[in-house]
Symmetry: C2
Subunit: 428 residues, 2 copies
């Protein structure tokens, strides 16, 4: 059954995914195409601030934005809350959870999800942080463990309930570890005066030689120093190999005991069924050409984390970050507007690396941009400014800014509430 959509005299572009790439592309091509966007959520998530939701510094509602509201009043834009199931390229049809949709052009911008590299027990027992629900679960899980710790007479068990292990020293792991360090230093001791916080340990484990491996060495060293100032123990050249919900096993002689392990060590593309086999590449990604067209297809494109443009300059494809997604979407949008049929004047994608940044608790960040490279408090202000302007929606910007201001002044994080308890899958 086809889902009901108006028949108009415009080519139909179906976009799967309302992330950074999806919304940028829809903005680019609006009024020139009939745009149908499908997503399993009715909102866009500003993923760079998920870790603040997880650490009780931010309400979820401020870092998400309703997709319908984003395209309010745009003619020929249609949102559908649905999950993509299968593409049938020969028929130009995509099957979804609510019915089939015919397309003239299809864009797969489904992003990525957490990868555990096949370690099933680890997956069953650890906490991911790639969606707003997962961030809320993590917030609840950490708070619930502290409530449990207070009622545990067994000292070893109490320590395990307080301890946190973060695996993965990329920006997500580093920012999360920094925020947890702040929680330990300024917030949790007020909430739980009965607990001895000298016994709480935060470990950040990475398999590489340094944290923030994609940054320059100076930034990595600064980030490590900032983390250690917040009492986060950094372990490098170490792989976590198993986790039973309590004991963390590594490829070294080191072991850790913690009731919470947060896995930020890998992602995998969210691919849809029906992609040609020749377009399937490493990490669940989809092989695209220099115009983001999926190889061996004629009218299917892919953008963002799930797309892999493997060129001589980028044999490993581009990094899976928001900037790449947005720039790919802008380029494809411009090309489609030039001429979707003849492809006259189409320009290949060229990534302009505007730099990277990561924050580590209050007053500390590392920024690596074309115009400046800096670490410390000035970098922290740059980080805040860039994230505020990147956030979608005036209301969200004001509320986020106000939260930061209040947290900054009173060293607090006001949202330590377990609104939906996390029901552990542990010991399963």
């Amino acid at each position: 059954m086809f889902i009901d959509l108006p028949q108009v005299n415009l080519p139909r572009l179906v976009i799967v995914g309302g992330g950074f790439a999806g919304i940028e592309l829809a903005k680019q091509v609006r009024n020139r195409f009939q745009v149908v966007m499908i997503d399993k959520n009715n909102f866009h998530t500003f993923q760079p601030l998920l870790y603040q939701v997880a650490t009780a510094g931010m309400e979820p509602d401020s870092i998400v934005f309703p997709l319908r509201k984003l395209f309010k009043g745009v003619k020929h834009f249609h949102f559908r809350l649905a999950e993509a199931q299968e593409i049938i390229p020969t028929k130009n049809i995509i099957k979804t959870s609510i019915g089939e949709i015919e397309y003239d052009y299809l864009v797969i911008a489904t992003g990525s999800t957490t990868s555990y590299f096949g370690m099933e027990r680890l997956m069953a027992n650890s906490m991911p942080m790639k969606s707003i629900s997962e961030a809320l679960d993590l917030r609840s899980c950490i708070l619930q463990n502290f409530e449990k710790a207070i009622n545990t007479p067994d000292l070893k068990e109490r320590e395990a309930l307080m301890n946190l292990v973060i695996v993965g020293g990329g920006p997500t792991g580093v920012e999360l570890a920094g925020a947890l360090g702040e929680l330990k230093k300024h917030v949790l001791p007020n909430d739980y005066p009965e607990l001895d916080f000298r016994r709480m340990q935060i470990h950040l484990i990475d398999s590489g030689e340094r944290v923030l491996g994609s940054f320059e060495e100076k930034a990595s060293l600064a980030a490590k120093k900032f983390l250690e100032e917040l009492d986060v123990h950094v372990w490098l050249n170490m792989r976590v190999t198993d986790y039973d919900g309590l004991e963390v096993t590594t490829d070294s002689t080191e072991e850790f005991r913690a009731a919470t392990l947060i896995w930020a060590a890998g992602v995998v593309g969210v691919r849809i069924q029906g992609i040609p086999d020749s377009a399937k590449t490493r990490g669940g990604r989809i092989r695209v050409d220099a115009f983001n067209q999926v190889v061996d297809t004629t009218n299917i494109f892919s953008l963002g984390d799930v797309a892999a443009m493997e060129t001589d300059a980028t044999p490993q494809a581009h990094p899976q970050v928001a900037q790449v997604a947005i720039q790919m979407a802008t380029n494809l949008g411009k090309n489609l507007k030039r001429s979707a049929t003849t492809r006259e004047g189409w320009k290949p994608f060229q990534y302009k690396d505007k730099g990277s940044m990561a924050t580590v608790g209050r007053n500390r960040a590392v920024v690596e941009a074309s115009f400046m490279k800096t670490q410390g408090i000035f970098a922290w202000f740059v980080w805040m400014f860039i994230h505020l302007i990147a956030l979608v929606g005036f209301r969200n910007r004001v509320v986020v800014f106000f939260n930061w201001l209040v947290n900054y002044i009173n060293y607090d994080r006001g949202l330590r509430v377990i609104i939906r308890p996390f029901l552990p899958r542990k010991n399963s």
Copy 2:
């Protein structure tokens, strides 16, 4: 097993419930008692604004406040996340989900929950709105139904998905109906341009002769007029007798078809096992004397919605509103501070009715206070002012105020996000 609590040279007061009564009492008696508060949530909920969370005008985090933070730095205050299970008055022990607690004085302030008066099918299919989770479920449910409506070719089914029936014309039902009327008028048509909103109906059904039955007639008439201006259909002298998830049956010849029925027509006290039979009274409440002491007990008190003080002046006990809960807690707190053992100088509870108010959409409210009785825009400003100052926490006040300001200026409600999908129990 007893839960671990410090032994101090102060009498121990255990408070069950962190609602309006519980937090007011704990504030009153702090430093004079060892206060142990238990609640199944780690936060206080400002219930009067739940309907704004349900209608996407407010984030949940702004109307809740962490209980631990509320009593930060208070010596001899101990919070435990636990559910009360049974009182054993002969041993001065309360059993909870995390262990037993000995008390010198016990205060039951467990509040009330939705009552369906034994109508099981109605309960299984309708939406309550007494907790933050229920308000979030309602928000998700309404938005999900609109997403479904857009994909339904059957006109009758589409209408049913858009329709809303609210049962109960007290302040909760009236405020919710008003907010839904605003959604229909200003917000939803922008989000769903494909739907015909002339086909969406909002019905408010009450068994009494007028809405806001506890107010004076003039206020009831004004509220009804305000609702009708927002295109809410008000049905009086009508009882809903059944609901199968689609068809609403009443005691009249009228029938309604709606995929969502919100039940705000009754509450029942949340009683704990172990209360003497003689203290059990109508509506799941606990009979207390003029000092809020539970009858036939010596050191157990009850406050707020669950308490019933049946005196000659109040044969039906006091109304189940925040003001009664707070005033009872203040009076009991003062009495306990006078002398908990000899009860010298104890004063009986005297309710000072400061009035009631209800808002009906933007610019419209009814206020009935000792110092003024008014309906309309001025009442609406009074309503906002009173609710803002009553809200706990500076951060919450600012964020709530800012939300109201933004919603007021752009006729919008920004939080139309289904963060956790509501999984219907329907057709069960």
